[in-house]
Amino acid sequence: MIMLEILSGFLLAIGVFFGLTGAIGLFRFPDFFTRVHSASVTDSMAAVCILAGLLLQSDFGLTAVKLLFILLFLLVTSPTASHALAKAARHGGLLSIPEHKHSVKGQD
């Protein structure tokens, strides 16, 4: 029982850590693509860890099943959202920083 508690606390702590780093990254990273990367870390890693931690805390009942469903749903949707974002940006002609430098040089 205590093992479960410790494991759950550990997972929650990791989840919070990833959430925090994701948020910092969102502010500090230089361009769109790196920011999408850090945001998707929050979406996937943080959410998954926190949900897993909560799963360990709950009894095996309806709550656990609901948490599991949320977990699965997030695992499907959040990478898709990040992918769609990045792809839309590419289609819109947004360049990453190295490419941008390169294209500027090419013009010179």
């Binding site: 749903f73 499907v76 949707t77 898709t80 992918h83 769609a84 792809k87 839309a88 289609h91």
Partner: protein, 341 residues
């Protein structure tokens, strides 16, 4: 601990609201409103109002934000800088706020179980509704039965919104002659919408995932619709979620495909149908000898009668809300088409 969570959330709300005043980028303003709405949904959860939180998350953060983004796409993304600076709004706000603070000084303390609100009318809802109405979710009991007339009014409000949006924007349907709902249909001689708007054809991943989750969303909507008696949920939330599934479909596969699945003509019938179903249950109660919306008379056993009545009216709410939300989405989307041409 709960107070602390509350305080942090309220602080975040305050920061979000303040930021809205000074930002000029309307896209950011709308996103901040979405965040504001989500945060308040979180506060509702911490204040035990799970049904309200559910609705706020699906409506405020979902539908309202989407509609605002749609409006931005049709108008401007930046607020223009204005020269005039008036102190009048600030003065009005400070006066109003001062009056409100003055009013709070005499209020019953926050969350105190001895407050008058918890002793006068509400005890009956809490203590007797499980026997009188027979549902574990007291919010649903009050919403659908004790104050069922309010909810009928609410459904009519949603219906009025549909009437307003349709008369202002109208839905442009393809290949069909203009009639009734479709106003300003200048669709003669224009290409088939399903060809002009292919949706997000290039996004292969998105299309696959959308196909995967749309049935799940619909299943969830049905769960919310019929499980509202036992847990948070009900017709309103279910309607919004179901509409969200079709909105996702129309976004990913193009508005033309959306029209093929649920055509505006079908919506034209569904929108009034929900209201009529609700009011019809009321009239049926009258015909069977009770008062308007008195579900007790619907079956020999009053609690069964309440059950039938509540299922029927929740379905009415769900249908109208679903149809209206989709209608509004169609109306905004067909505007985008027009701007694009």
């Amino acid at each position: 601990m709960a107070e602390l969570i509350d305080l942090v959330l309220l602080g975040m709300l305050a920061a979000t609201a303040l930021r809205v005043i000074f930002l000029r980028d309307l896209f950011a303003v709308v996103m901040l409103f979405g965040i504001y709405s989500f945060l308040s949904a979180a506060i509702f959860v911490s204040l035990d109002a799970v049904d309200v939180a559910f609705t706020e998350a699906s409506v405020g953060a979902g539908i309202s934000t989407v509609l605002m983004l749609g409006t931005l796409a049709l108008t401007e993304r930046k607020e223009k800088v204005t020269q005039h600076k008036s102190w009048l709004p600030l003065l009005v706000v400070i006066t109003t706020g001062g009056a409100l603070i003055y009013g709070t000084l005499d209020m019953p303390p926050f969350a105190n179980p001895d407050n008058p609100v918890h002793h006068h009318v509400a005890p009956r809802y809490i203590e007797q509704s499980p026997q009188e109405v027979g549902l574990p979710n007291m919010v649903t009991s009050v919403l659908a039965s004790y104050r069922g007339f309010d909810t009928l009014g609410e459904t009519v409000v949603v219906f009025s919104a549909a009437v307003g949006v349709l008369s202002l924007l109208g839905i442009r349907r393809r290949r069909e002659p203009a009639s009734g709902l479709a106003s300003e249909s200048d669709n003669t001689g224009q290409a088939d919408l399903s060809e002009s708007d292919p949706g997000l054809r290039a996004h292969e991943v998105l299309r696959v995932i959308a196909k995967l989750i749309i049935p799940l969303i619909l299943l969830f909507a049905l769960y919310v619709q019929f499980h509202g008696d036992f847990g948070p949920g009900g017709g309103f939330q279910a309607g919004v979620i179901a509409a969200a599934a079709f909105i996702l479909y129309a976004l990913v596969f193009g508005i033309g495909s959306g029209f093929q699945v649920v055509s505006p003509n079908v919506l034209r019938w569904l929108t009034p149908f929900g209201v009529l179903l609700y009011a019809g249950v009321g009239v049926l109660c009258m015909l069977m000898g009770g008062q308007f919306l008195d579900y007790n008379v619907l079956a020999s056993d009053p609690v069964h009668g309440q059950h039938y009545g509540i299922i029927a009216i929740e379905l009415g709410v769900g249908i109208t809300v679903f149809a209206v939300m989709l209608n509004i989405f169609y109306a905004f989307t067909s505007q985008t088409e027009r701007v694009g041409q």
